[in-house]
């Protein structure tokens, strides 16, 4: 049994956010972190590893420096890591990215009792599309917004969080699950023993040459050319002015509010 955990290196938006003149993020000048939801996906996988001793494989697509992030995940407890990296993959949107990651997972081979975990969404794009798209491309059942995952045999039970409650869902492996962070859940630290061996653990780089024979790798479905998303414009929205608070639960306050909304043509 193996759990593939898909992770992404993202700019650390808690620090200074640098924006280029054309409105896009200046990624090169920003610190990078492991996407927070992906860290939780790794924690969920490691908890299952603690119980079952299964293999946990960290997978990312990105430039070569993403190796540092993968090694950190190994230091947390992942058994091995795969970096999917190549110029042919550059410029991919979520469609192309999921196509390539799915090809990477297929290249390793997905067994009957394997699972794929992803974070719900990345803090740079916030699309929440890559996980579900990987599931579609691998033909796997998918459960999103998972906060708890338990596995017994080939049956997986997931607590799926909704805005106003949660649902319990069961499915069979192989499957894909996207995980969300909550206040009570914190990813474990790297261990010193893990750090010491992080650069000795199995590590593979899948470039275009390695993956080119996978059926999912088609020239019109990967990289910039294979990306149906077109960004017309990126910009930083102007800051809103300070709002005005009206206090009171009486008719007069309501009338004042209505008058102000009318004045602004909001109603």
């Amino acid at each position: 049994m193996r759990i593939f955990v898909c992770v992404k290196q993202v700019p650390d938006t808690s620090g200074t956010v640098a924006v280029n003149e054309d409105g896009t993020l200046n990624r090169a000048s920003m610190e990078t972190i492991i996407n927070p939801d992906d860290l939780i996906a790794m924690e969920q996988a490691l908890q299952i590893k603690d119980e079952t001793g299964c293999q946990v494989t960290a997978v990312t697509m990105g430039p070569p420096p993403a190796e540092g992030m993968l090694r950190e995940l190994v230091a947390m407890g992942a058994d091995d890591a795969i970096l999917i990296s190549g110029r042919e993959f550059g410029g991919s949107d979520t469609f192309a990215t999921s196509q390539i990651i799915a090809a990477g997972i297929t290249h390793v081979g997905l067994q009957e009792d394997d699972m794929v975990f992803c974070g719900r969404q990345a803090i740079d794009g916030d699309t929440a599309q890559v996980g579900p798209q990987i599931a579609e491309k691998l033909g796997l059942p998918q459960i999103s917004y998972a906060s708890e995952i338990t596995k017994e045999g080939n049956e997986v039970t997931v607590k799926r969080m909704l805005e106003d409650g949660y649902m319990m869902i069961k499915t069979k492996t192989p499957c894909l699950i996207t995980c969300i962070s909550d206040q009570d859940k914190k990813a474990r630290y790297m261990s010193l023993a893990g750090i010491k061996h992080s650069y000795e653990s199995p590590y593979q780089i899948f470039d275009f040459e390695e993956l080119k024979d996978e059926p999912l790798i088609q020239p019109d479905k990967i990289g910039l050319k294979g990306s149906p998303t077109n960004i017309f414009k990126s910009f930083t929205p102007p800051q809103k002015g300070i709002g005005e608070m009206l206090e009171g639960a009486d008719m007069k306050t309501a009338e004042t509010l209505a008058a102000k909304l009318l004045e602004k043509h909001a109603i």
Binding site: E72, Y189, M190, S191, L192, I195, K196, Y199
Partner: protein, 380 residues
């Protein structure tokens, strides 16, 4: 000399910094105010493997060396001196056992200290033997009938003495021989005749309990003698060299932490209509602090390098300890000055750091002793 870190060491530094920020810093003020040893913090350190950072993996350690130890101590001390000092001093016990212990002693005691969550302590100092370590009065008399040594005496100012379960204790096996009659023993708290006395009410480093040890006919199996009989003094001096590098790392961490706070505060505090970091007086303070801190760090790393490559490194250790501790006091002082009245308040960490930093000039050998060690190499 290349002091750049390997990728693994960079990762360790990142982990230690994250751990210090998330686990140690939130407790720093509370443990200082309540004068209490942070049991949970030590347990968390053990869980991650910090408590055996420089001990080989075969004994439950993380397989690092002096540099890995310095990285962790430095990062911890940026946020909480008590916690960083606790780690630094705890490591003296496993380091000494690793260096001088028998295979049996190492297999029995090291895993407990490295990953078992057991705190270690190192007990040399006595009321009459501070700077003059040769003045140890505690005796160890061999009892042939039981194959035990019977220890009698009092140790004082022992960091972690009230909490440690495994201690390296120095006692005179042949008092008339002076320093050539001192031996070391591994003592378990559970041994008959061992107890701790009063816990000192210190000026700073309050999260690290400093206690008196009372040995009253304390029976220690002869097999727990560490190293050879009457060779304890040299072992103690060797252990102190390592401990002094540890104090240098503590002091550098403290200075770096104070500098970070000063830079931050100077950018936020507005006086005369602008942040005070626009004032040249403050800028000069910051420049001075940064320069001294970097110089101290270079000297500390020089001592780490010496410790990893040379058999004797007393001079390097003493120079690092002397300069880093002095720097910590000066940098914290300036950081507090930049904070003005707020720096003097308990609500801000600087007054705590000011009290904590002072100890680095005193323990593991005062600054004056360091000068003695250094000058002896010059004046023959």
């Amino acid at each position: 000399m290349d002091f750049s870190l390997t990728k693994e060491q960079e990762m360790l530094k990142k982990l230690a910094a994250q751990f210090a920020e998330e686990e140690l810093e939130p407790m720093a003020q509370e443990i200082d105010e309540q004068h209490v040893f942070p049991v949970e913090n030590f347990a968390k350190m053990a869980k991650q493997g910090f408590t055996g950072v420089n001990i080989p993996e075969e004994y439950g350690g993380a397989g690092g060396g002096q540099l890995e130890k310095a990285i962790c101590v430095e990062e911890f001390c940026k946020k909480c001196m008590s916690s960083g000092a606790t780690l630094s001093i705890h490591l003296m016990a496993p380091e000494t056992i690793l260096k001088h212990g028998t295979k049996e002693q190492k297999e029995k005691y090291l895993p407990q200290l490295t990953k078992g969550g057991v705190l270690g302590a190192f007990a040399l100092t006595e009321p009459s033997a501070g700077t003059d370590a040769a003045g140890v009065r505690t005796t160890a008399v061999y009892d042939e009938a039981t194959d035990e040594y019977i220890l009698n005496g009092t140790k004082c100012f022992i960091t972690g003495g009230s909490r440690a379960d495994i201690l390296v204790i120095f006692a005179m096996t042949e008092p008339k021989l002076g320093t050539k009659g001192m031996s070391a023993f591994i003592v378990e708290r559970a041994f008959e005749g061992f107890d701790h006395g009063k816990i000192e009410n210190k000026m700073g480093l309050n999260g690290s309990e400093t206690a008196e040890l009372v040995l009253e006919d304390c029976r220690v199996p002869a097999k727990n003698m560490l190293g050879k009989k009457n060779k304890g003094f040299g072992m103690a001096m060797g252990a102190l060299d390592s401990a002094r590098v540890g104090v240098a790392a503590q002091a550098v961490g403290c200075a770096e932490g104070a500098l970070e706070l000063a830079v931050q505060y100077a950018s936020e505090r507005v006086q005369f209509g602008k942040p005070i970091n626009r004032l040249q007086g403050i800028q000069w303070y910051l420049a001075e602090m940064k320069t001294k801190t970097e110089a101290a760090k270079a000297l500390m790393l020089n001592a780490v390098y010496a410790a990893e490559t040379k058999k004797r490194y007393s001079i390097e250790a003493s120079m690092a300890k002397l300069f880093c501790s002095q720097t910590a006091r000066e940098v914290v002082n300036l950081a507090l000055q930049i904070h003005g009245g707020y720096g003097y308040m308990h609500d801000y960490p600087l007054e705590r750091m000011y009290r904590d930093a002072k100890l680095t000039e005193i323990y593991e050998g005062t600054s004056e002793v360091q000068k003695l060690v250094i000058s002896r190499s010059l004046v023959k």
